[in-house]
Amino acid sequence: MDNPVRVNLFQGAIAVFVVTIGTVFFPVAGVVVPIVGQAGWIAVLLGFLIPLPWVFMAAALVRKGPIGEWGQSVKAWLGPWVGRVFLLYIAFCWAWLGGLLLAQGGMVFHNIALPATPPWIMSFALLILVVLADMRGVEVYVRSIELLVMVCLPFVTAFYLAILPTMQLENLQPLLGDGPIRLAHAVYLVIPWAMEGILFGLFIGTHIKNNKRFGLTISLAVFGGGAALALLTAFTLGVLGRGVTETYLYPTVELAQTARVGFFLQGIEIFLYPLWFLASYIKTGAAFVVVSESLRGVWAGATQPYRSLALGVLFFAVSQVPNTVQQVVASLGRVDSTFFMAFYVIIPALLLWVSIARKGDPNQSANS
């Protein structure tokens, strides 16, 4: 009996929303506040608003290829050989990002919760889950996100409710004291995060059968993710103030430790640990699945479970390169600002190419 359900638009939107937020939830304020101060949350909001046209370009690309498999779609856009090169580039970018996220996952938990446990052990534990998710396919991964979002919701709500009373509005003033140039600089640092969400949207869109309102839904998901991050930045500034926020790599962790919940819990890290873990799983899993499907598109002989296992080794190797959290954050910044930033040029160019070269042949199957 055929499986009655595959990835639907709602699932795709939820996945894009959480992948967009992902682990950025933790360093977001630490990245923008040192540059633009109290206007950090505006920078985040603008950073997710400006890239929205690219979401619609991605949606247009999705409509021009066959539905069901990422590799086939890319090859239908670009032809078998250029398509393979593109897939390899995508795989390279996401593998690097994924490996660093894996390292970040282990190191942050090592620092905030389990100082006696070496970070590589936690990275490895996280990797096992990600490999398992990939082995079971995109559909299972997306469904696991759907369910985990429901687990996250009470934690996020509790987190916001717990820090809300400690917020001081005067910490958010003056709003635009650092001027438009610094604001633009902060926006420039934010927009690669939006591109991660857009690229994942492009990937997941090739699995969604009914994608008529894909562009609008995914743009809402990407902007919704940005709005949640902007809100968090505003909360961090409101509670910690600019001076304290600037000094931390992960101000959200500090924010959680500052707030008190009555007499029972000393801090609200208890809400943060699960969030951190789930965010790490979701974002690293997204990277892993994209790389895995891209490699499948490049070479159909890369079958499961060997593909996932080989990729697991690759991700783990990448995760062992940086030694400190500072190195991880710097490397993530480089990957974002170079490789992911490049897609702001690649996606329009790709759409232009597909529109001109593949005109009248929208559903051409790739010659793999």
Partner: protein, 522 residues
Amino acid sequence: MAPKGKRFLKKPTPLHQKTRAVPEGCLTGNLDHDSNALKQLIRDAGDLEYRLVYTQGHRHVALFYYADMVNLTLVSRGIIHPLQQCAQELDIAHIAQSLLNVPAYKQARELARLAEALAEGSVVLLFQGLAEALILGVSQIEHRVIERSESEDVLMGPHESFSEQLGRNLALMRSRLATPAFKNKFITLGKVSRSKVAVMFIDGIVSEDLVAEVEERLLRIDIDYISGAGHVSELISDEPTAVLPLLRITERPSRVAGALMEGRVVVLADGDPSAIIIPTFAAEYLQSSEDYLERPAIASFLRFIRFGGLIISVFLPGLWHALVSFHHGIIPPPLFNSIVAGREGVPLPTVVEMIVLLLTYDIIVEASTRMPMRIGQALGIVGGIILGQAAVQAGLVSPAMVIIVSLTGLSTFTQPSVSILGPLRLLKYPMLVASSIFGLFGLMWALVFMVLQVVSMRSFGYPFMYPLAPFRWRGELDIFIRIPLFWLSKRPDLLAGQNQQRMNITPPYPGKGEQDGQSRKS
């Protein structure tokens, strides 16, 4: 090299091949020969009754039946007596139609078929000079009467449960679903047991693909003996080794009727009061039949309690261990000091202490479940209260740990379905082990691992976690709260593809005139 003696040993034959193959053969018309052939076929059957009857028309007739499986009054008055009084040489069709007084009959000439009919509780008549026999349906097997369901008892609503007799169970269903659209197809399973299994569905609501899939999976079963629904459900399940039950088993006709009306298929097996609901979704294990008899607010509160119970029963031991052993900075010092003071003198590490206590609790539960009610209650008191108190006083366990284990145990039993209790009792252990290694990180790891397992599960091809993943707003709402019935006007969209509308009522909001105390007519 194999030992020498072994080559003289015969290769063991699978059980279903060991069973005596029914010899092919038909009746000859020679009564002695045919009777002996039938006796030979059913040899070693101490309860087989054989009787020779002479008609007034000098025809010899042989009766075969199992004494405890037939209605003896009917055999005597409806079969033997008319035969003895018969003075004419009637053919077999006339004998069945106008002479004998029995509710059902069939003709057969194969000995194997006759043997099968005897095993089903029929009377077989062999005639001198006729190469054909009569199979008379006069079976009467004693069964339990319709009783309350012990495993799914409710305070309100219908109490009746299925019994072991398939025919009676079908009659119960027919009385609830008095429509010609209620269909049931019979399939015989088990080469030896020849158990009847009924596949029930509502024509026009159910997906035809689902019915075909159920039949196909049932027909694929090649086994000697089917003990009942539990056996069948494991053999047709998508993942027989899964910890969670992917097919729900129920004894309640009301629940089966509800499932059928949602577009599901239900399988009933002869000799078992349990029915298998196909497909099953995980969220249904939180729902009780009583929910729809209670006011929505009350039922929603009870669902919330059940959901909380589910979370506590799986995660509380692990969470407690993670907080106390790894992340005690989160706990305020006065509380942590009191926990530490309670543990003073306890010889076991926290995790071992908790595992020992949880195992002890599960032993008590298992022991009291199998006992008669009064002994079970006594066991519960001795085990739960006296043993726990004695263990604390002896310094073997800490008081806080007893509270945590008791709360975990109690929470397990908030679930309305017995099928889910076993998995819940089991799942707390891996959670505890994971948290004992990595604290909250381990607990979250185990959670994600579990989520990956459950979202990849399918019940007859349908996602087991529906309507949570894939998300359906309408269905989702009815998991956590009990929404008013008029909001449930449609069936679950995954199940009833074509016929989704289940009711066309609007909420009975009073008109303005009624609010003012006037009747609608005025």
